[in-house]
Symmetry: C2
Subunit: 269 residues, 2 copies
């Protein structure tokens, strides 16, 4: 892994940074393909929206964009992670409003993965409802850590998380799509969950595939009626789900049509 802090090579961060102290920051995990950051515009837009919501003074976007493009240019394939924190400050939750944000950029080797259908389980760890943080990819990720710690079976790729009202919200690291006929459903993220940039791309691309995309509340029973289920994230793209499991319950026989079409389109980006 290669690390830059505020555009300087290095891995040492001020321990007073509010990113560590309070998780007071945001991040983007991006896929580098052939030296370019895939969906970079969407990543920067989400970052900017998050900074606005948290009242973090974002780094100037043109300069940040150049920084990311320059780092990506050296790599054919990689995972790029950008963290933006509110920066260092005095003790106490309240920001002074004068903090200068910290950006931490990391380039990682791309993990091995094939676009094969995956197994997905239902997690018991809940995702807390907080409308003020809904949709944002904040540094407060303990719920994802606990949910991802629930299983160690390497054959299971992902776990679905529910809120305390039993609505399925997202995976620990991906978003969920459920197709019935020409209706493509994905959980509404108005109260919790991370609104992935790949989710956004799927929602924007659905109509090209003659799919009607809707954001709605989804429960386990809705999955029982699915014809197709897939997950999305910025690094892996689209992954078809072959088996969905909740304890001893197994949902199988799912189709892969829409995911295959989406992956073909994604490859052209």
């Amino acid at each position: 892994v290669t690390l830059w802090i505020n555009n300087r090579l290095g891995a040492r961060l001020d321990a007073r940074d509010r990113g560590l102290q309070y998780g007071d920051g945001l991040f983007e995990t991006m896929r580098v393909c052939r030296g370019r950051v895939r969906l970079l515009k969407s990543h920067l837009e989400r970052l900017q929206a998050g900074c606005r919501q948290l009242k973090i003074a974002a780094p100037p976007l043109p300069a940040l964009r150049r920084e990311l493009e320059r780092a990506a240019a050296a790599r054919r394939e990689a995972v790029m992670k950008l963290i933006v924190t509110r920066g260092s400050g005095k003790r106490g939750y309240r920001p002074s409003g004068r903090e200068r944000c910290t950006r931490i950029l990391a380039l990682h080797a791309l993990p091995n993965f094939a676009p094969l259908p995956v197994r997905v389980r239902l997690c018991t760890t809940r995702i807390g409802i907080n409308p003020d943080l809904a949709g944002l990819k904040t540094l407060n990720r303990l719920e994802s850590v606990l949910a991802r710690s629930e299983w160690s079976d390497a054959r299971i790729w992902e776990g679905l998380m529910r809120d305390v009202e039993e609505n399925i919200v997202c995976g620990t690291m991906s978003n969920l799509f459920v197709r019935r006929g020409s209706t493509l459903m994905t959980p509404l993220l108005d109260r919790c969950g991370v609104a992935g940039v790949m989710r956004r791309w799927v929602l924007e691309t659905a109509s090209d595939l003659k799919l009607h995309a809707v954001q709605c509340r989804l429960r386990w029973d809705d999955l029982n009626q699915a014809e197709e289920v897939f997950m999305s994230n910025a690094v892996v793209g689209i992954r078809s789900v072959a088996v969905l499991e909740r304890g001893r319950q197994r949902l199988r026989g799912l189709k892969f049509d829409a995911a295959i079409e989406l992956r073909e389109r994604l490859a052209l980006l």
Copy 2:
């Protein structure tokens, strides 16, 4: 502020630390009085319980206790903050189980405060319900940051936070107590909120004051019927609330009897 990382003087942290990446860690904020850490045993017990819950391999407690005692001995009055993270690791939410925890110790000057009755407001930022994290003082504190950012009026000391079901859970940095006659109520923290060590001390001490302590759900209407309201945290101890406000609503005329008695007992520790 003086900082030690893993018992070595310094403020530079590995940016790959999961404390920064995911808020994957816990902290304790302690009061140093006359060279000693107040309620140190409770702080270490809570830290240990939190590490167990998050499956973080905690630092050996006897050595950690000596570290804190040694740092405190040099100071008459101070605020001591200890962060324990899961440590550095590879990318991905799932801990390998082989991480070595990082401890970050900071000594801050004690802020000025008098034990005067304070004004407290009701925040609009909600606190997410997550039973797996309830009671723990984790590094995921964005909700507290947003709630504390709601007001800048220096005359208001604290804000109360509610869950999405309108239950009042705690302050942004303190716990709530409400007295009616000889019944002392504090919110039940089984679904969210931080269980403060000073809250624990009050619950343990109540019977000495002939108070019957109960943990229960509390709503704004329950505060309307309060005779006395006070807040607690490890640094300031016990603070009486003189005025409680929700928008233009004001609750005044509260008594201070139990808080005064508790403060007298606390001074003997």
